[in-house]
Symmetry: D2
Subunit: 442 residues, 4 copies
């Protein structure tokens, strides 16, 4: 009921029970194919195994029930696959492998496959950020620190920061060292005699996964790194969603998520326009962290196979993948339909009486009176403005010391947000350039 | 595929999508009934709503898809329920309530209901611990600190410690302050005019949930406390499972999980007898913590409804419940079929050359030579025993200073584990008495 | 450098190295006193130990260095205490106890002592919430869901929700089952012969800590529960701080933290008035969760003493305590100096064009046209108002169907926030009554 | 008191308050130097600032107390530095920068500097693993899955797995994209006019930190990635420590940590030889995860500076660094002094009655009777052996079907662990080669 609310269909399929089942079967058919190429298994047996290894021929519920006796679903699956292959080929199924080989390689296959639709969502999020950065490179808005207006920035700069974060996380995710796993009972491949390394190499080739230098059964760095990369991705997305939500507040109103259809409506309140995409993205991101904590918390696994920490990985890995996809999808919808309101951005700075430009005025004054004195003067004027509820401009113009240094025109220039944007545009350019480079490279 | 491996059927049903759906519908029919009693809704409308509010009449997938627009599944469910009720009664569905009322009350209902089968599993675990404590109150085994043999304890004392931990966690879980939720759009119940508090009271009565002093929409202590209590439960179970696994090691062999059926077998190795129940319990416990971290991490929710932290709770809450049930079930199987080997317990102490009795010897010596000197003498003898690989006894008898104080018989008495059990039996009694009292009280 | 920024002096002292050192020494002198009362140790030896057991007589740095060989600081402390006591009394130091007894009991003493100043801060926070609830029980403001204005509430109701959360967390924290620990090498108290239980009872009495039914060395529920209770506290505080920050935003401005002194100023921007108390409270709360995750993650400890999970507890426990105190202190400052601006609360609702009252209008209409139609009409008017940027009132009055049912006066009444507060005041009363009851009980 | 127990002196210094203070001062002097080179600040002022910017000239306690008003220690430090520099230079201190620039750049400096001693400890751990892999490449021991003997491996292969994990984590840690931070009040560098980017470039150069494409104030991926890399490191170390502890159990005894000095002793038990290095390493690793959870949990920071999540980073970052260093140091001590007992490794396999070779026998049989039948035969013989408590060999030789296929000699060959090591040695070679390559590259 909830899965469909948070995770897009394509990602759910790529991380669900059937995807795992198929990946485990792909391990077995890949192994048979590798062993056939290595001359250990007759070619026709490998073909029979490949033919039988189709997820829709197996009953996940029944396998799960049977799996309780073994503590993992590979053992019953091997049994069922042998049955499906028939007496002839049965002996060639799962040859030299162990349950952990099946599940670890399956996990890597599931991850690699799920990273396709997840990656597509992430790319779309990045593209939406890039578009916003491009379009609003010169749209002034209040920069806010500790949720207080600070100095002006541009909405484009904000979006450029989002873009940089998302692209860094994408790069990180793309660099996770996935690898096939084949070690046999305890990592020596002894049951394959001298052919072990050759079979491992061919298996990796068959499955299109990198071959590791040695079996990694209880060296869980790969799984931990995948989890960490997903959490970093989710965090980069959550940052964007958080900003969108804050900007979409009734009292800020500088952006709004699309209200096409009934989107963002309330079951009771007729006027609501909720930032549902951002809220869903944040919900997903929080849950990715929960799942990742299980993966990172389970790096230390006993001896040659763990009794608990390993078995704890499977579903959290699926969840971390699925919900990163969910966060990206929800945020993409939020960004692609985002209504941006430059006028409201300008109004909000004005409504704050120009206080966001206080630094600009201080900077303008500093040349004549020195930084510390400039700060004092503006601080006093700001305090008077805040107290009286009048614009900062009035207070500045009423201050003799300030007027002795700055003309009314100079004060107005200092109070123009568009004139105090520093290197915002340059930074936007740099972020966009880095993004283009990244896209070309991927 | 994995859910069936970790979570028993009954618990899965109580925490799954359908259980949530029914609980949400129960909120709506309970609300209508309460409003009928308060005179706000015609009795026949309430009856019609109650009749329509059956989970099997709704399509969870379709509701989930529709829910994306709202960010929660209550809004589409209300729409669908209105449709099911027909034009007449539609206006009386969900009167004065908001989506959060539906989902928060449903969460409490799901929790209360799921705590039945979970509680039954936990009780069975406690009973198994109590039985082991009872039966083995006088079975000596090595106490182990930092995984080194320390001094003798009894297996009964170990089991009594397990029991105390599990019972404390059960008590904690039973004390979580579940409560109905009805606040309307922002917690004032304004849409119900002056009838709000009366309706809230009747709703709680209808659903058999405690009534809170005031709506708790963004006061998430209840949810956090439930999560924490589940994590404490899971931790208490994990402690037992960890000890079982360590005792079941090939080289320790003091207990073994049942190997009835194919249980504990390996897909490859013919001789394996894996502690699968304990491993599954540990896997579940680790994941409970991941889920709980989301719940505890989301206590701070914005204003009158959160934009992300709230939506993140639903599935982790289900998981924390389900996997606590899974941990209890797996551990119960492990304990109920546990083979305990008192001979092996005794042998392991002997094989360590009696080093676990070193403190007993030091205590026997201390009366004559003082504690520090006694410790020195035994330390030296232990070191010589460890180096030579001979029993401690030989070294003690070969030491003139020791012999001047203790006779060979006295040394042997000091080296008898059964004679150095201190208050183990008393502590077992106390734990059992506390357990009986707890069971009578619950 | 940072500790002083986050944690108040008194709490820092109660949780710092010296506090632990003294607590460990208190265990040793309490043990000697108990053993003297039990007739196992000469009274003068117990006195000598009590005299020597003063933290300022020991060098924490040197003890820590020596502790590396043992993996815990109790062993070197016992050695140093024996030295300080002199040859005579040395043999009576630490009699029958083990390092874990020292550290576990010390942890409980540290917790109980630190809970005094922490509790005082928490009480002050609750008192500040109660005062705000009392004073602003009838101050209307926008209730906000998903950060959008929803329907009116009162600031008093918001504060009452804060109060309920903080008081529940305080109750939880006060109920944590602290207990003395004395089990000897592996929990049997064998080195004390038959006197163990009596000594354990007297020790608990000496230290003013409850006596547990049996030693709890690797039954870590107490530590986990303490951690969880602190995280729940921190979460309740964080909720308040988050609301304060959101209300203090430049564009909302409904509250402001005090700017007395340089408080809330910026190193650069002359006009800033940052919500520093709330920010510090949130920072502390986030870190409490990190510390608690270590405590809850370490519930499963091996056999009779863990090799890692136990040693990991000490500093996170101190941190969880210290930072809960820090969060409370920072939030207390924020609340006690809080400037509340009822006019701004009213203005913000008006600036949103009265949309927060849309539900009120729908409710007013529902009697005549039915709920669904009422919602449609108001939804349409709200949409037109939002689009045109005009007040909702104008659109309502311009709608014929609405006007056929509601007079202009009735519309105005429906649009008055003060008239749509439902049971807000009652709920405030209830929260205050519960608070008074709680305070009387504690 | 505890810090000295867990973290080596050099790492403590590199991550302590003084290190942060100096790093903040280095930012200020680096900024002045950069601005001098850019022509914005007189060279003599920059020199004066550099001279004043020495940590020992400032009082951390006083700064921390003053910092409470600002919510961060940069503001009071700037004030104090200005005072120290004197009126002349004061105006040139902190020019164009904001508090977050100071603290973020300081965090990066602290990290980069602390990674020196941490990296040295990690390298030493890797070297110790490599030495063990090298020396014991052909030392047979039981491979263990779910803590049960499975099939033989070599101790060298186990150590090679440790090495691969530690080296991967080191590589990950070395690749974290540290970077200088200079953005001014909200990331535009507006206060520096057009000179911002040039100053940012020169600042990075002055401090020897990479220059980011744009300011990264609320794009916290770098901090999160650093935290994740430390947690992955800690996890790789914990895996080794866990294996050492398990191998060092009294009943396993295949390795022992050094007992030189009083190391590993107990305050009570004269014979204990506790794996204290491993226990400390595990304790540290658990705490690194707690700290990292704060860093990863705080990736989403509001707008241009967060009100809580940012302030929460400083100490957890220090802790994650310090405790990763602590874990490495403790494990290094454990490994460098590790006593390895090949005889015990062999004996433990024999004591298990040769069951670890069951797969080897099945493999030997499979050629004649087929895999499934071979497994059945050996399973039955293993069960009989386990039940009777006799060696597997006896049961194999007593089985007619087996004897019809294998001679006694062939059975003995199959039961020789050294003959069933598969590709263990090759995998050791590969791990060592990869390690040499990594060391040459770093």
């Amino acid at each position: 009921m909830f899965a469909g609310l948070f995770v897009p269909q394509e990602v759910r399929q790529a991380t669900g029970g059937r995807a795992w089942l198929q990946a485990m079967l792909d391990f077995e058919s890949g192994l048979a194919a590798a062993e056939a190429r290595a001359g250990l298994v007759p070619a026709e047996a490998a073909r029979a195994i490949a033919e039988a290894a189709r997820a829709d021929r197996f009953d996940p519920e029944a396998l799960a029930a049977e799996a309780r006796s073994f503590g993992n679903p590979a053992a019953p699956l091997v049994r069922a696959l042998r049955e499906a292959v028939g007496e002839e080929g049965a002996a060639h199924v799962h040859r030299g492998a162990t349950s952990q080989d099946v599940l670890d390689t399956a996990a890597m296959l599931v991850a690699r496959r799920a990273l396709q639709p997840i990656g597509a969502q992430l790319r779309a999020v990045a593209a939406a950020c890039a578009r916003l950065a491009e379009e609003h490179r010169a749209t002034p808005m209040a920069g806010r620190t500790l949720l207080q207006q600070a100095v002006p920035i541009t909405f484009g700069l904000k979006a450029a920061g989002w873009l940089a974060g998302v692209d860094r996380a994408r790069a990180r995710l793309g660099a996770v060292p996935l690898a096939a796993q084949l070690g046999g009972a305890a990592g020596t491949l002894a049951a394959l005699g001298g052919d072990g390394p050759r079979v491992a190499e061919l298996l990796a080739e068959e499955l299109g996964l990198p071959e590791p230098a040695l079996p990694w059964h209880t060296e869980r760095g790969r799984v931990g790194e995948l989890g960490a990369a997903l959490a970093l991705c989710a965090g980069a997305l959550e940052k964007v969603a958080l900003d969108v939500e804050l900007l979409a507040q009734s009292e800020v109103g500088e952006v709004a998520e699309s209200s096409a259809g009934a989107r963002g409506g309330s079951s009771t309140m007729p006027h609501k326009r909720n930032p549902v995409g951002s809220a869903l993205a944040i919900a997903c991101a929080r849950r990715v962290r929960g799942a990742t904590s299980v993966l990172i918390g389970g790096l230390a696994q006993e001896h040659e196979r763990a009794a608990g920490a390993w078995q704890a990985e499977w579903e959290p890995l699926s969840e971390a993948l699925a919900l990163t996809g969910g966060a990206a999808f929800a945020l993409r919808e939020a960004l692609e339909g985002l209504e941006v309101r430059p006028d409201r951005m300008r109004d909000n700075m004005a409504a704050a009486g120009g206080l966001a430009l206080a630094e600009a005025v201080a900077t303008a004054l500093a040349g004549s009176v020195g930084g510390p004195r400039a700060k004092q003067l503006v601080e006093a004027a700001s305090a008077r403005a805040a107290e009286a509820g009048t614009p900062l401009r009035d207070q500045l113009l009423a201050d003799d010391e300030i007027r002795s240094v700055l003309s009314a025109e100079e004060v107005d220039r200092a109070l123009d947000p568009a004139a105090y944007l520093g290197s915002a545009e340059l930074f936007v350019e740099r972020a966009l350039a880095a993004h283009r480079e990244f896209e070309e490279g991927t």
